[in-house]
Symmetry: C2
Subunit: 698 residues, 2 copies
Amino acid sequence: MFTTLSFYSIFSVAVVLLAFGYAAYLYFWVKNRPSENKRIERISDLIKQGANTFMRQEYKQLAKFAAVTGAIIFIFLPEPVWSGGIVNNVIMLLSYWAGTCFSALSGKIGIAVATTANKKAAEGAKKGLKEAFLVGFRGGSVMGLAVVGLCLFGVVLVYVITGGNSTILLGFSFGASSLALFAKAGGGIFTKTADISADLVGKVEYGIPEDDPRNPAVIADNVGDNVGDVAGMGADLFDSNVASMVSAIVIGATLDGGKNIAANVGMVFCYAALGLLSSVIGILTARIGKHGSPTKALNMSTYVTTAIFLVLTAAATALIKGFRWEIWGASAVGLLVGVIIGIATDYFTDDTKPIVKNVARASRSGSAFTILSGVSYGFISALPAMIGIGVSALIAYKICDPVGEGYAMFGISMAAVGMLSIVGMIISNDAYGPIVDNARGLAEMGDLGDDVVEITDELDSAGNTVKAITKGFAIAAAGLTVISLLGAYMSEVNDAAQAMGLGTVLSGFDLMDPNVFFGMIIGAAIPAVFSAMLMLGVDRNAQRMVEEIHRQFREILGLKDGAEGVDPEYDKCIDIAAHGALKELIPAGLVAIIATLAVGFIGGVNAIGGFLMGNIVSGLLLSFFMSNSGGLWDNAKKYVEAGNEGGKGSETHKAAVTGDTVGDPFKDTAGPSINTQITVVSLVASLMSTLFLLYHLL
Amino acid sequence: MFTTLSFYSIFSVAVVLLAFGYAAYLYFWVKNRPSENKRIERISDLIKQGANTFMRQEYKQLAKFAAVTGAIIFIFLPEPVWSGGIVNNVIMLLSYWAGTCFSALSGKIGIAVATTANKKAAEGAKKGLKEAFLVGFRGGSVMGLAVVGLCLFGVVLVYVITGGNSTILLGFSFGASSLALFAKAGGGIFTKTADISADLVGKVEYGIPEDDPRNPAVIADNVGDNVGDVAGMGADLFDSNVASMVSAIVIGATLDGGKNIAANVGMVFCYAALGLLSSVIGILTARIGKHGSPTKALNMSTYVTTAIFLVLTAAATALIKGFRWEIWGASAVGLLVGVIIGIATDYFTDDTKPIVKNVARASRSGSAFTILSGVSYGFISALPAMIGIGVSALIAYKICDPVGEGYAMFGISMAAVGMLSIVGMIISNDAYGPIVDNARGLAEMGDLGDDVVEITDELDSAGNTVKAITKGFAIAAAGLTVISLLGAYMSEVNDAAQAMGLGTVLSGFDLMDPNVFFGMIIGAAIPAVFSAMLMLGVDRNAQRMVEEIHRQFREILGLKDGAEGVDPEYDKCIDIAAHGALKELIPAGLVAIIATLAVGFIGGVNAIGGFLMGNIVSGLLLSFFMSNSGGLWDNAKKYVEAGNEGGKGSETHKAAVTGDTVGDPFKDTAGPSINTQITVVSLVASLMSTLFLLYHLL
């Protein structure tokens, strides 16, 4: 197996090294940009330290979690240690830990570059839009390349070392998921705690501007952009990317009785490597004119990457024996649908389109109407995306079904791989957002003047628009991935059953089976409960932080009036946000995991099938709803602030601000964390399948 | 068949006649209560006229809809007229029309009694709590008995006339559903249009109290309580009740090759009749002391009815040959779970419990936090209800599965019948709400003094609490019903397939079948889109009405200052609400129906199975979420108004009012209409099954 796959493994590693090299070049390019403003330097350092504080705490908590989970894995997985061999369990454990570490490493890299690129972009804006854009974009690209490179490298490594044991790969994927749960949901709580508290006390209560250095929460707010959007989103997409590859490998390896494993698994590696290569080329070619539009530049680079991927994979499919056009078709469908969903998301959240304007208009009647219209359009926005996912799964299935038994499900998993192939580009665009958002803050706090702030404003606005698109894309990708994880789950169960001499126990999940239905209806409720717990966590945490901000304004003399040399205690706020975020996250994660275990040990493997499907379907719906309504409220507020419907300070504006405050945890905490929740429970289910098979009540 | 069933048919009709007799007695008892206040008389007449205006318009629109749908039914159902016989199609058409007419008739009765009982209750409050409570409750009971009586009578009638053709019964059920769509969703838009506009201009803009007769929308608001909560809720539960009986009959008739049809269908009729009888006894025994609690009295009557039903059905099961204890067990489980879900709902929406207090406390930080906490708790509140439905379906299945093939699904349908057995009592409690709410308004407008208003306030508050419980119950009942409708759908498809010589085409719906998945993911999005369209409809309609209220205040001299003899043009507002409600409703209903047809003609019968399940699961989730968060916002506002967290006029109060405004269409328009949407598409699917089988793309 090692030999037949060695070509693809070597090719993948070669591309990874190329990407790492390019990322290193970009990192040093960004790092060596000039920066001179002492004040900016100082604040940027504070942000960097704050981000590192959170990351340290996060990784410490995660280490505890990984230790406990690791112990459980060691005892029970892939088989209970008393029935299987101890060696396999140790390897599983190491694979799990490797998953967390690889993802954690990419997060570290992302934070390192983002907290450097922010000040460079702020200073670059003095030279103009072009320079500042390039700094922001290249900074983001370092993260994009690091995530995808480490992801591909990790999967190849585990696969090669274990001699192609796909169950062990699930452990790696679960490790990445565990990290993502902490990074995405924890980072999401952190960022919105800081954002909301800063606004609530600063803007609303004291009337001081956004990013004003007097506000004790202002650094925490900027830190939040990094830990939530850079590290969090990176971990989320790392997770989805690994999961899509792993489930394709799990399914592909068993097809035709394992005869075509080289071609099938080879295709997964090859396509993933070509996706990374396409992203490198896409990043290389990203350009903006002196007065060009940053939004267009970002989108163009996505389209370029998409086109290159399609051409390269078509070439590979034509040249390499055993690669099949049907599978290529499935991944092309996945990728195209991903892009289309991104565009549909844009329609609902872009302030040049009618929806955002409608919500801004509705705000004239008060904040209740901002909420009602935003919730309504958010609900509607889920439809095109859901249709897209349904149709792409259907087409991928139908294209690949004639190839042979089981290929249909492999097709769906390759659609997910295809959709995620351009994830390097997606992360680059996404990480660009918080970098230029921070740059805007730094330009304001460093008194770089209105012109510079205006340039960073334009860059920031592009970041917001693109962020909505990438979020839609990320959810859709996770959607397809978890469907293929369901296929992987079925493979795992049947493998385990065969090993026990039970034969094939699952040929599908019948909706009319009451176990399946029971699992499904509970699975459907979990994303709602999970996101509610995160939002309530933000609420509680923000209340703690508001208290602290009040205390500082009360106790630190001269702070409110901006007396020279008087600084707030930024680190106290960062501590509260970090500590609270991790504290609030744990119960939410546990509820999801415990529910999975409860359903599995009550209803058995069939109930889990229903559970996962209910979880996927309602999770996708809520995720699209919350992300999109959050995005549209954000942009409706910006639209009003641009002077429409009464402009800043009007009653309409106040209503729009309320919408934005509600939307913040919707779009940055709950909505995008649901992906992770879905992946986590899918992997828990796959890993526990043997135990569910052995022990269940009904 | 007629003979074997004749005992149960006769028994059912006897109970129906008893219930009708008792309802007539109650109606005249209410009607003959003294009323003397001319002003109240006049306003009550205006409300009655307004309600009748809406009902007339609604039934006119419905007639058009029923004509078009009837034509389609005549051509295509149960089989295309060119392939089957014309006679069957005519009977189907008549059955469909009968379904709409029976439900419409019960709505008429409900409105007639409610718009009389409101003034009698207001005047009764002069004598004290006891008298006013009794008037309100007995008024509501007339509606409860009329709905359940007409429902049972209609089903027995169609069954007996058609000689036990269960497909034709589906037509009757679809008729009831069509009416429910108009009554519930249309009434829901009407009531919230009026409520929101009245508050927005009256309370917020001009600072005049609720129910002030100067407000041009005040009558429309009171009309809304009747058409939304009395007629709408009645139609909704009529619909669920019919659907549960019909699906139990469809499934029960085919079991054991039709051998046990007498016992199985007999059980459905017998249990339904005993449920009605239990409600009659429950109503008879409802009492309240001079200083007793109306909430307790209402709840006690529900528990009494539940206990009586369990005892009576146990006796019937013991005495009658062929009745099985397993089936009794299933219906008992259904009923008990329904009651438990009601209690859980109460926990989330009662202002003596912690959740409502938490939301009120969160409101101190502003309306965004009212919304965030309410949405979060609303999400969480869905979990116990979803678990309840899942568990009851699972238990019912497991209890009845050993009886024989197909009995498991029959058990689930009988769990739904059991849950709905006490629906007479539920409607009585529910219709009590708007009657005393109106009475409160009339007491205020008729200047009956603070003591009287206080008594009606207490009655009203009990109505609100009980309403939340009955709403949870209604959603849960619809949930179990549509699951059994899915079973009925499968029976229908297989019957049709057998008639075509295709054999059994469906033995279940496999989640791994891409058609099923495709249907499911789209089905899951539909309730979100449907409810969004209704809410946007309320928004648009309210804007039209606000404009009209402004016009009246501007153009009618002396109105604002309350000059003697100057009245607003109430009817204009009623017209706008009525016209707009029906206009906004149609597209939402069409989207749901067209999506069903599209999925069916693309993916075939399997895709529809997935579609229905996705629709049920996400529909239940959203329905519980929206109803409960709406209820808790309402009560959080009332809690603040009672002097907590700053009390009336504080910033916290303003935030709580925003929550309530958002919650209004959540709980009274969108949330409870989702039931109806689910039932409508389930029935469309069952009715169209032959066509989907014959014509589909994939």
